[in-house]
Symmetry: C2
């Protein structure tokens, strides 16, 4: 039976890649994914790398499914976890709208450490309570939907993790999101910008909602917005931990 792997590469460091993911990668004849992820993978030189541009997820998924039926051992890769704003959903969307033969492919999705988990671990324990994960990109959903979700998430008291918070093509959305949240949450809730966690160019910024500056955020930055139970603890070395209390008072 033809088998396709969809693998989450984790935050970037080899030490955060699960053995299960590593093993799937080692069996690949072909790697498919967004260019920088495909390049990052450590595999034998004969493995063919099909790195493509951003925003062509469905084409990429179709290409992977076609090669699978041709007998190639294809691994589709995403950063973090492929199920969280990664390639997994695109693969199933392609199958749903593709030829019936694609439904006979055994698709194995291998989970990974997604960005919000890596960022939270580096910061302390900001996900101690309930939380939500929102993509701020309005490429695939109306901006009004994003705004409505942010408002309801704030009202619910969720800690909010923002993926795809800002890019060159979407420069203004994050500022508008902060403005909107300031109307619904206290300005002193902690906000963290966690960039490229676990990679050499990692950068962590701790601020609060009132002062949060969208200009400090780029494509590789996970934005975390605390709730009223999120607070900082001063470390002896002058740094700070961020954590959210597990306990909600009545």
């Amino acid at each position: 039976m033809s088998r396709l792997f969809v693998v989450g590469l984790g935050p970037g460091s080899q030490s955060q890649l699960t053995p299960e993911a590593q093993s799937a990668l080692e069996g690949a004849t072909d790697l498919v994914g967004y260019g920088p992820y495909v390049e990052r993978v450590r595999v034998a030189p004969h493995v063919r790398r099909h790195g493509t541009d951003n925003r062509v997820e469905i084409d990429r998924a179709r290409h992977a499914l076609k090669m699978t039926l041709e007998g190639r051992q294809v691994v589709v890769v995403s950063g973090g976890d492929s199920g969280v704003f990664g390639m997994a959903s695109a693969v199933f969307e392609a199958i749903e709208n593709g030829p019936p033969a694609w439904r006979s492919i055994e698709v194995t999705v291998i989970p990974g450490v997604t960005a919000v988990l890596a960022a939270a671990a580096r910061l302390g324990a900001p996900l101690g309570g309930d939380f939500c994960v929102i993509s701020l990109s309005d490429n695939l959903k109306p901006w009004e939907t994003v705004c409505r979700r942010l408002r309801l998430a704030a009202e619910a008291g969720f800690v909010i993790a923002l993926y795809n918070a800002r890019s060159k093509a979407r420069p203004w959305q994050l500022g508008e999101a902060f403005d909107l949240l300031r109307q619904n949450v206290s300005g002193n809730v902690p906000v963290a910008f966690a960039r490229a966690v676990g990679r050499p160019d990692e950068r962590i910024i701790l601020t609060d909602l009132e002062s949060a500056d969208p200009e400090l955020v780029d494509m590789s930055t996970l934005v975390l917005i605390g709730c009223r139970l999120t607070r900082t603890i001063a470390r002896a070395d002058g740094g700070q931990w961020l954590y959210t209390s597990r306990k909600v008072e009545a």
Copy 2:
């Protein structure tokens, strides 16, 4: 400097444990955590295992911090990711309320594959859109808060992952949660019960909100409630994939 590790063990299989987590475990002199997790860890026989009962997280954290300052190499373990309803938040809560010396400890939180990611990968790609993660336990927060969050999450159109969905001590809450959600979401949204994913006693049940039976859920079951964009795809082998479309129409 004294160093304490807080490690997420992943869903259970050794193949889903990151090398970073494995390495921290191998350096331990003492393991601290909920009994079944502490027993699960593969380490040398001389390592002391301090497995305790459920619901004593703060005592456990204080014990770990004390041993760390006594010069032991302590690793606090949780299932999945320690930052998601695991031990990380309890450790920082203990530090916040403990002696100043605890703030000089270097606390390293090592992320893991949390239950919702493992479950989603096994099911297909149900987290294709925005989602939230809610603990259904009312041990640490009022039941009214849980209900309000469920209502707002449904209104937002989030896929909803429920941790601590049901236990012997909390037998009725999940049924009430389903009733509440049925007032806010169409009864035909898919619901999945993913029990012990990746372990020998794994069991996956796919149903819908209308038919969802709380009796099929136990302490080891992750409950996933889809949104209106979540659907099933028939596989050639008679099974089904579950996925959530990335695209939200205006």
